[in-house]
Symmetry: C2
Subunit: 274 residues, 2 copies
Amino acid sequence: MSQPRTVFFVSDRTGITVEMLGNSLLTQFDDIEFQRVTLPFIDNIEKARDVLSQVERAGVDSGKRPLVFTSLMTETLRHEISRANAMVLDVVERFIVPLEEELGIKSAHAIGRSHSAGNFKDYNHRIEAVNYTLAHDDGMTNRNLEQADIILVGVSRSGKTPTCLYMALQFGVKAANYPLIPEDLERMKLPPALLPLRHKVWGLSILPERLKTIRQERKPDSKYASFENCKWEVDAAEALMKTAGISFLNSTTKSIEELAATILHEARLVRRVY
Amino acid sequence: MSQPRTVFFVSDRTGITVEMLGNSLLTQFDDIEFQRVTLPFIDNIEKARDVLSQVERAGVDSGKRPLVFTSLMTETLRHEISRANAMVLDVVERFIVPLEEELGIKSAHAIGRSHSAGNFKDYNHRIEAVNYTLAHDDGMTNRNLEQADIILVGVSRSGKTPTCLYMALQFGVKAANYPLIPEDLERMKLPPALLPLRHKVWGLSILPERLKTIRQERKPDSKYASFENCKWEVDAAEALMKTAGISFLNSTTKSIEELAATILHEARLVRRVY
């Protein structure tokens, strides 16, 4: 059996950016199997040397030249990694150097500027968004509902909670969510508290087959999880949302990131970046 | 007054990757003021033309050549943006082309591979991590506590909840959290349920001044928010964690991303990527 090619994501800080970039590029090479290794906090020469030997070993073991995505800011560390018998894709070199030329100044070349605790106001805004979103999960309270940036509706287990939490953590958005329960579906009306806020309401839907699978894991062989009930709820919820003029997205085919970014885009909300 | 230079993040999908990469690079140029604009879902030529005119306008209005980070996969769309009087930093061109050479195959050049709903197993693992984390927030239950990958402890408002939620959403980690309450601090012992799981326990601490500010917003002029009480709780919690052999990080000086990545790294947990 052929060995997968190893891909390293090497960073002097969290590695989140370089890992996300590298992964996003590799999804374009679907036919190739990769073994991914993230090495964060590589901030001194001993650690860089250790990375170098891990990369060399992976190349020997797999018989394939590894790929190494790096975002190391310090020249000596980058130099150390560049010695590897590997394809090194250096984010700093490829972007910082042309940026320095364009902007006419040298960059700080400082470790740890990204994702470091910025000013307290930004931090606080983000935490407030998370707290608001948690307090307004699953229709828990209508208190201060008018302060929501977004209110998501959908049947139970359609993906509302993770999408709201992602919007809060990634973009600083106050995202409430409200389940559409059988009573709403029978009345064919939005929960009354949402009527004056309809311009902030977005919907999630889901394929009945997928919904059944998800519910089955929580409450096996219940009416709640039965295909017939799932299909009835989904059909009724979609009909209700159409009647109420609420746009909705399908969480079966979209990731949490896509749901969150699409809703923010359609709602014309500002994306904060942390 | 001098106008800020405009920076565009242009993507055919969510824009999250290119926005994070661009922001991370710009933090290296601290002295320059930038105006950031994210333009996601640019997936046809009309939208690309609209981006082009927004970029041109920003250049004229500010008197400064804009920066444009793009991750457009389609050749015609990239070509359209490249016509702008701007510095275009094209992620695809700078990385996909050398990757194609190294890997010896053409990339799919397909829109929307990143952050798209992958296989159900991955998706389910991520949602399960979020559900677990929500159910085990703030010591809510000890049920299935042994299934946690990580258990965070710390005084009320030290940043446990957002850090746990980030670990769940970003890395698929089941992260429980447990407050250290005055009873624990007086006894100088971890909550009893955590004793058999001490190897999974990490701590968060915070500067008493910062804690006071955060608590003051929630319960103004309470004993809970007083500086004396905050200082007592923080000192006692740090002493307790030292006694119990629990490593702790300070949330005053670290971002949520840094806290999450550091804890995962120290705990040697696998980072999933979604």
